[in-house]
Structure formats: C-alpha cells, structure tokens
C-alpha cells in the first residue's frame, strides 16, 4: 500500500495538515490515529475557549475537533483509527499495527509527523515523598473525569500552574471536589491569565507562587502533602512548610513533544524545543518529512496548531508534486536575550512566499519591550513592540521576505 502523504496522528495538527494537503490538490492521503476516534487530546478538553482565532468563536475542544472531522469527511482522505505506528524508516516506510488491519507497511512520498506531546511526570521532576496512589498527571485525571465519568479524588492539591492543571481545578471543583491549592515553583504562572481568573479566582482556590511540594505522605493513598516556599534558585526554604490534608495530587508541570518515532527515523531534534528542527514550511532534516503542532513545540492555543499544520500539510502536498525545495540561501534562526527558542529553526529564503511566521517563547515576564530581529552583522531586520510578554504565552512575529532578503548570515530574535 502506498500514499502520497501519510499523516501520523489524527489530533488537531494531523487533521489540519491532511485537509490542507487535500485542498492543495493531493489525492492520496492517509491519517493514522492511535486512539479510537479522531480529535486527539481535544476530545478530553471539554472546556471552552478554542477557536477564537480560527473560527472567530469560542468552542469546546470536542466541537473544535468535530469541525475538522466534518471537513475531513468531505475529502477522500483515508483514516486508520486504533492503529499504532511502530516505525518510520528514513525511506518513509511507515509500519503500523492495528486490530482491524493487522501489521501493515505503508510507503509514503511524504510524511507529516503530528504525534503531539505528553505530560511530564512526577519522576521527571523528582518530587520527594511516599509512593502512594492518588498522584495523577492532570491530563490522566482529565480523561478519567471527562471521558470515563470518574472522579479521581475528593480533596486535591495541584502542582504546577499549567493550563491543564488550572482547567482541572475548575472541573474537579464543579464536580464536587475541594481543590485546596495550586502550587507553582516559579514566581509566575505557566498558564493563561484568563484561566487563573476563571479557574482559580472564581472558586477562591489559592495560587501559591514560588512554592513547591516538598513531601507527599500516605500509605495506600495520598493523605497529606507538605508545601514549602522556594528561593530564587528554587530550593525550598526551611520553616515555610504548610500541610494540606488531601487525597489527590494533580501534576501540571509541563509538556514534552513526543518524538520517539522522529528520533528513531534519524530526524534532527532541537534540544530547546525537544521537537524536530524545521524550516519555514515545517520540513524536518529528512526531505519530505514534515512535522507540525505540539510534536514540534508545545502550544497554548490550538488555533496556532491549526495554522502551522495547514502550512505543513500544504508543503507536504507540494513536495509530492515537485520534490525537495532547492533554496540556496538558508538563514539560520537563533534565540538571543530573553528568548528560549524559535520555530522555524531555519528559513529557506528562496522558497518563501510573502512572509514567514516565527514562533517562540520568552524566558521571563516583562512589559513594554521590543522583539528585535538582527542579522549576523548586528543589523536590525525587524522590530516589534510588545506591551506584555510572558513565558506562558507563545509569541509570534511575521517576517516578510523583503526584510529577510536584507539579512546577512543568520537571524537572532531577542527581547530588548
């Protein structure tokens, strides 16, 4: 079996990429999705707030997914659900296994990686304490609650102020649990401000910034956690301990792009994003293999996932028609002061039509700053004023080709 474009993952990124590839004229496309339905993690994100940019209205996660599934149904894209990709070879052979189809090897001309991300766990951040039950990643608890209809606890402390944790604070509260505290090690929240207001403040849930959990106690199930203030180096300050009697700890301590398939295919990974190094069309280090959405870098808004994935899907279709881009000028993108990373990591200038959106995150909260793009000679290529910058909110700027053509060497994005 062979396809022009095989999309790995049927979440928001994969759906948008497949539809965009179809709309660009590609007629041989297959989506491989490991879950039992399309839509990915949106299916359990039943809160609203999705689609303000893309659809200009506020939708719930499942509604947002359904809009794209409906679009997909009007195409001839093949869909394999409940199917797991085991391997992608550098030659773009995709090995999949499923209950319905058995073991299949599909040959692609182009592959779009859209596997999304996973949550950081307790082990990833070495929280001390007992090994009792009642400690969940926020996303796992969200699945139990929203899809399966089960409560995972009655008295809850949330570690981390990422958006899923905040959203779960509200969900658990509305379903009858008592959320005692949300604890964030950084001096600012990692979540969107609107979620702090709607999910914590609305229910008088205290947010402890610059605090962390320093002990978890309990025999079978969690019985108590100890929370301490931390200093600038994130070390707990003795004497600041507070105890919370609770039966549940939810972790919302970050997301990690899922790139095991990408790594095994030999794709170059950027240690800053933990996603593939991509160009302005989201092509990875293997020509014809594209990546989009949270597998590239973790987003806060699905609308941006959609926009980025449409670009990747269109480029995958174009690759099937005309092969590798041939640009001779490649501008590398670097992160300067105050910027954590950039996506894309390089721009093939000759292939740019119009302008290139550049996504990044800043390292600290700041006000009334400028985002400045300089070339390797220090020349300012572009500058964008910003009233408010925060690490919890992904930033983006658009660099028009005419400005890029003036650059000597690479580009550096910084906050000044």
């Amino acid at each position: 079996m062979s396809y022009d474009v095989i999309v790995i993952g049927g979440g928001p990124a994969g759906l948008a990429a497949a539809v965009a590839a179809w709309d660009d004229g590609c007629r041989s496309i297959c989506i491989v999705e490991r879950d039992r339905e399309l839509g990915g993690i949106l299916n359990q994100c039943i809160h609203n707030g999705f689609g303000l940019h893309h659809f200009k209205e506020e939708l719930t996660g499942p509604e947002y997914a359904e809009r794209f599934v409906d679009l997909l149904k009007q195409t001839g894209v093949d869909v394999k659900i409940d199917a797991m990709v085991l391997t992608i070879t550098p030659e773009k052979e995709v090995h999949i296994v499923s209950k319905a189809g058995g073991y299949e090897i599909l040959q692609a001309k182009s592959v779009v990686l859209a596997m999304g991300c996973r949550e950081r766990t307790r082990g990833a951040i070495a929280i001390p304490g007992a090994r009792c039950a009642g400690i969940y990643t926020a996303g796992a608890a969200q699945r139990y609650l929203n899809i399966e209809g089960y409560m995972v606890g009655k008295r809850v402390v949330i570690l981390g102020s990422g958006d899923i944790g905040l959203i779960m604070a509200r969900r658990m509260t509305l379903e009858g649990a008592k959320v005692l505290a949300c604890v964030e090690v950084l001096p600012y929240s990692g979540g969107l401000t609107r979620n702090i207001v709607q999910c914590l403040n609305d229910f008088d849930i205290p947010l402890y910034l610059s605090h962390t959990i320093t002990d978890i106690q309990g025999k079978g199930r969690v019985e108590r956690v100890v929370v301490s203030a931390v200093d600038e180096k994130r070390n707990p300050i003795p004497g600041t301990e507070m105890e919370f009697d609770c039966d549940t700890v939810l972790l919302s301590v970050g997301l990690i792009p899922e790139n095991e398939l990408s790594r095994s295919a030999g794709i170059e990974i950027d240690p800053r994003t933990q996603g593939p190094v991509v160009d302005e069309d989201f092509m990875t280090s293997i020509p014809g293999v594209f990546a989009c959405g949270n597998v590239v870098h973790v987003h806060d808004l699905v609308d941006f996932v959609t926009a980025e994935s449409q670009r990747a899907g269109k480029a995958a279709a174009a690759y099937c028609r005309s092969g590798s881009p041939t640009s001779e000028t490649v501008l590398s993108m670097k992160n300067g002061d105050g910027v954590g990373y950039t996506v894309p990591q390089h721009i093939r200038l000759d292939d740019v039509e119009g302008s290139v959106p550049v996504f990044f995150r800043v390292r600290a909260i700041s006000h009334d700053k400028k985002i400045v793009v300089r070339d390797d000679e220090g020349q300012i290529i572009a500058s964008f004023p910003r009233e408010h910058l925060a690490p919890g909110e992904m930033e983006n700027i658009k660099l028009p080709r005419v400005l890029l053509e003036r650059a000597h060497g690479g580009l550096t994005v910084s906050v000044e």
Partner: protein, 482 residues
Amino acid sequence: MYDVTIIGCGVIGASIAYTLSQYKLNVLVLERENDVATGTTKANSAIVHAGYDPEPGTLMAKLNVRGCAMMEDLTRRLSVEYKRVGSLVLAFDEADRATLQHIYENGIANGVPGLEMISAEKAREMEPALADTVVAALWAPSAGIVDPWGLCIAEAEVAVRNGVTLKLRSGVSAIRDLGEHYEIETASGTYESRYIVNCAGLWCEDICNMTGGAPFTTTPSRGEYYLLDKSSGNTVSRVIFQCPSKVGKGVLVAPTVHGNLIVGPNAEDIADPFDVSCTAPGLAEVATAARKSVPNVNLRDSIRNFAGVRANTNMSDFMIEPSKTSPRMLQVCGIKSPGLASSPAIAEYAAEQLEAMMGVKFEKNENFVDGRTQVRFRKMSPAEKAELVAKNPLYGRVICRCETITEGEIVDAIHSPIPPCSIDGIKRRAGAGMGRCQGGFCGPRVLEILSRELGLDRKDILQDKDGTIIITGETKTGGAKA
C-alpha cells in the same frame, strides 16, 4: 495438611517454591500482599552480582557465585529478561586501588570466572562515559542484569502451575508449633503444615519471634533510585560500581533489561520497613555519587524515582538453617544483597536443608512441567509481529505506547496463573506503564481491560497494594448537590 509452607513470596520464596514444585511435596506459599514480588524484590538494583564482594568461605560467597552461574539458563527457561553485561568496579584513588585488589582476591578465592584488573584507559575504552578521575577498575564479565520481579513472578507462576498453593493477602499473625506440625494463623485463615520456610525478608525477624525468638536483629536500610528514560539507556553498557564500603555496594549506574538506565542507591537505616519514600537529600546524594562515576549522566531524563528497603541484619552472612527454637522451621534470613543473584542457589540449598531436616530424599514429581513462554511483541521481527496479529488481533492493539505493549499481552497477564488485580501488577508482568509517560496515557485503558477481564467494577481496580485506590467515585451522581 501441607508438607511445607513458605512464608513470603518475594524472589527467595518464589525460587524455593519453584524448586520444591519439582518434587512430590504438598507446598503452600503465604504472601501478605495482594500480589507476589511487592517488597524488596520489586525495588532494587536488578543486578546479578558476579560474587567478588562476599568474604571467601561464607555461604553468601558460595551461593552468589553459584546463583550467578545458574541465572542464564534459568531465565531462558522461564522467559525472564536477563543480560550478561558484566560489571566494572571503579577505583578513584590509591585506597580504592587497594580495596579493588582485595575484592579481586576475594573473587578469585570465591571462584568468580574471568575477573580481571584493568587500567583506567582500558576501562574508558570499554565505557567512554566514565569519569577522567578513574584510576583503575575491576572487570567481572559474569555479572548481569535481570528483571527481578519478572524472575519472581515467573518462578511463582511455574510453581503454581505445578500444584503449589499460593495464598495472597495472607499475612501471618501467629504460628503454633504443635510438635508434629504447625498451625499458622493468617489474614485468610489458619493453615496446617509440617514444615515452614521463613523467607519473609524484612519481616523474617517477626516470624522468628512467633516461634521462640529471633537470633538476629533486622535493620531496614532504604535505598533511593533514579530510573532514566531509554534515551539515556546507552549511557553505559555495563554495570558500573564504585568501591564498596561498610554500608553497601555504593551507587551504581547500570543499564536495565528494559533498556532504561538505573542510578542508585544510597543507604539509610530507617525504622519502618514499609517506608519506601524518596527524599530530596537522598536523591541528591545519589545524583552526586553517580556523577563521580559517570559525570554526564543525564538525570533530567529521569522518568521515575523509587526507593527499596533492604533486609539488612546484624549478621554478615546469609542464614539458611533450621531454627534453634523450632527445628521444623527453616530460616532463610538475612538475605540482603546479593540475594537476587543468589536466589536460584539459595533455593537449591534450602531444598537440601529441608531434606536433611525431614531425613528424606525428595522424590521427583514426574508430572512437573518446567518452563514458561511469554509473548513480547516489542521484541519480535516485523514478520513475527504480522504472524502473531494475524492469529490473534488483540496483539494488534497497542495499549502502552511508550513500551509498545499490546492488549493481547495485557490479557495474557490477567489470565496468567497468578492473576494481578492492579495496574502495577500488569506493569510488572506485561510492562505497560513502565515507560516515559509512566502510565499517564495507558493507565485508564489498562484499568478498563482489568475491569472487563476480571468482571470487577472499575472503582475496585487498584494501582498497586491494597488501599491504593485510583477512582474515588462516579460523576453525575449528585456530587455537586452535596
């Protein structure tokens, strides 16, 4: 009336049960928890030590070297993951070099095969990640790594399949020595048995105290660990020790049979043998010590911290002998490191001791069926996978995406001779949830499969031991009204 009752089903109890199941004996195994392999057996370094540490002439020296030699064949028969990767003990200064020489001589006296003192250059050639500060190393090619709970479960399964009775949730509360036999009171009822084997690990002393007093005292010693993601699994390819000290074999860095990297343990005496908490100072101690051997060990790749408690006693050697106060009870006590490596030899030796105690030579059970097979989808070639899925489509549905564990393997585990009742029970048998997401994605699905296959309500499926409740209730039953 049982001939022999084994108290405790860690790797020692399971090994002895497996060995005794090969004879015409009526054997009972009593385990306090809801599954086998839940104590020290599930939380240790998973190393098959070569046998150079124990003092020559001790039982420990003899059984360690013999156990290590038996491991390869045993694990192949029982389909348990094992790799003979060898171990290096590092010296960082002249004092260490002297220690190294001492354990080298121990090893030679103990009959450890292939031991070799090597230069720092040679060591770094073998393991490029080693620190520049290494001055010499001891190379022991016979050391290995094993799946410790897998070994215990496999031995217990084969024992049960061959007629051994296993009673879970059967903590022993009293033992009455009635002269000809014992009455053993447990949480699941009272059992009668002619002989007892005490291999209750951390609780051996308590069992001794039920039959006239313990000749030793137990000092539970906790060790904390990091388990690193598979992306760090190739940091080293052999077990890397530092020179042993009085408190233990020190912090090691080693690959695991599952492809991860294990880093630890420290050693801390604790009062409560159930206390498997990790602590910030303990983990920091492990991190510092590990970096001494392997400076670039990437602890950011950690997927799990855990702690195990060693059954240390005031005895320097293993104790495998009849109780002085109750002579039909075989004490298998003080089994600290290298207990796992020694376990097959301990079982062999314990069986000989029992024969001596009973004054008989055990008769072979001619119906005994050895061996066990286990499907491991992830280890198969594409052609084998295709064939397997064609035969049974359940092997085509991947449930644990990090470790590529299929529904078929999970269902196999549930219908194995010792059916697990918890998500961690599935993890220990099939490997689901062992990976980098630590069951975040597959946990709810494993719970669903357990509930379906066992006919239990989802709320009754546990994470691990009794009391480790996962689901506390349903939504839409009036929660918001309350």
